[in-house]
Symmetry: C2
Subunit: 148 residues, 2 copies
DNA sequence: GAGATAATTGCAAGTGACTTGCAATTACTT
DNA sequence: AAGTAATTGCAAGTCACTTGCAATTATCTC
């Protein structure tokens, strides 16, 4: 996605902690819990979905929004926007760049592994653009819905 | 964008009228005025931007939202989502398919004419997906901002 | 490690984009 | 031209997301 990624996906408890601190954020329980969900369950999730996955009393929904905002600013996660009235976020794994297709009927989402857009970003870079990233999302009726 | 387009861009007053009626919508002054803005000024515009471009007292902002919703349902316009908290819409011109790059500093937008994604949609079609469309948007710092 | 300082959090209230109920107006049908 | 159906204006409502502030928790400094 164009931007620099000096991190790899955290695995151990200690790595999660360092991951958050390396990003320049202080380490708190809510941030750990939210990051774990994004890393382990990797679908693009809305703030609300993440909130519901958190253990009871972990934190307020406002904290989820604040945390997502900071994670995004630190480039740990990417916003994914479908034709919905909320924003989804996904862990920014440089080793697993991909896109999505969402079914306009059943809303089920699948990932598309192919990405042929890096070359295109290089073109833009030659044109003088910097810190380029892109988002590419497909919509359509999935095979199962099409046959029903 | 994958979906069927049986229309071409309207030019004359009569064509605008027929264009709206062909879509199965009744012809009203607000709808004409909104469509004209989308066709003639072609940038992706928010409801608010369109509202401000309308002549005084043309209609309520609520009507702009309602109209955009219907235009979208009739596939006359496409939503374009950047990392903003509102939705932009753009006239769906089958003869001028393109994408955008928006500068994360000055917000200026440029169009990208290239589109190599039709082949990709064909792949998805072979997989059984129907009525496929896509959205591809780039973000980055534009040359002018990069040098400042 | 204790205390000072700075950042984060919970809660409740606030925004802002977008929607909706309803009565009045306008478009379409015949 | 009258009757029916769709659209509109207005105001109130919804929903995702934000924010002010006081209390808590993390980090820094000694």
């Amino acid at each position: 996605m164009g931007k620099e990624h000096h991190h790899h996906k955290p695995r151990t408890a200690e790595e999660y902690k360092q991951f958050i601190k390396n990003a320049g954020l202080s380490f708190t329980k809510p941030r750990l819990a939210i990051l774990e969900i994004l890393v382990r369950d990797h679908g693009p999730f809305s703030a609300d979905e993440i909130f519901k996955k958190l253990p009871e009393k972990m934190c307020d929904l406002a904290t989820v929004f604040r945390t997502l905002k900071q994670f995004k600013e630190k480039n740990l996660i990417n916003p994914v926007k479908f034709d919905e009235d909320f924003t989804r976020y996904e862990f920014n794994d440089p080793h697993h760049h991909h896109h999505h297709i969402i079914c306009t009927q059943c809303q089920k989402m699948q990932t598309i592994e192919d990405c042929f857009l890096e070359q295109f970003e290089k073109k833009l870079q030659k044109m003088g653009f910097r810190e380029i990233s892109h988002s590419l999302e497909f919509q359509g009726v999935c095979p199962r819905c099409a046959n029903a």
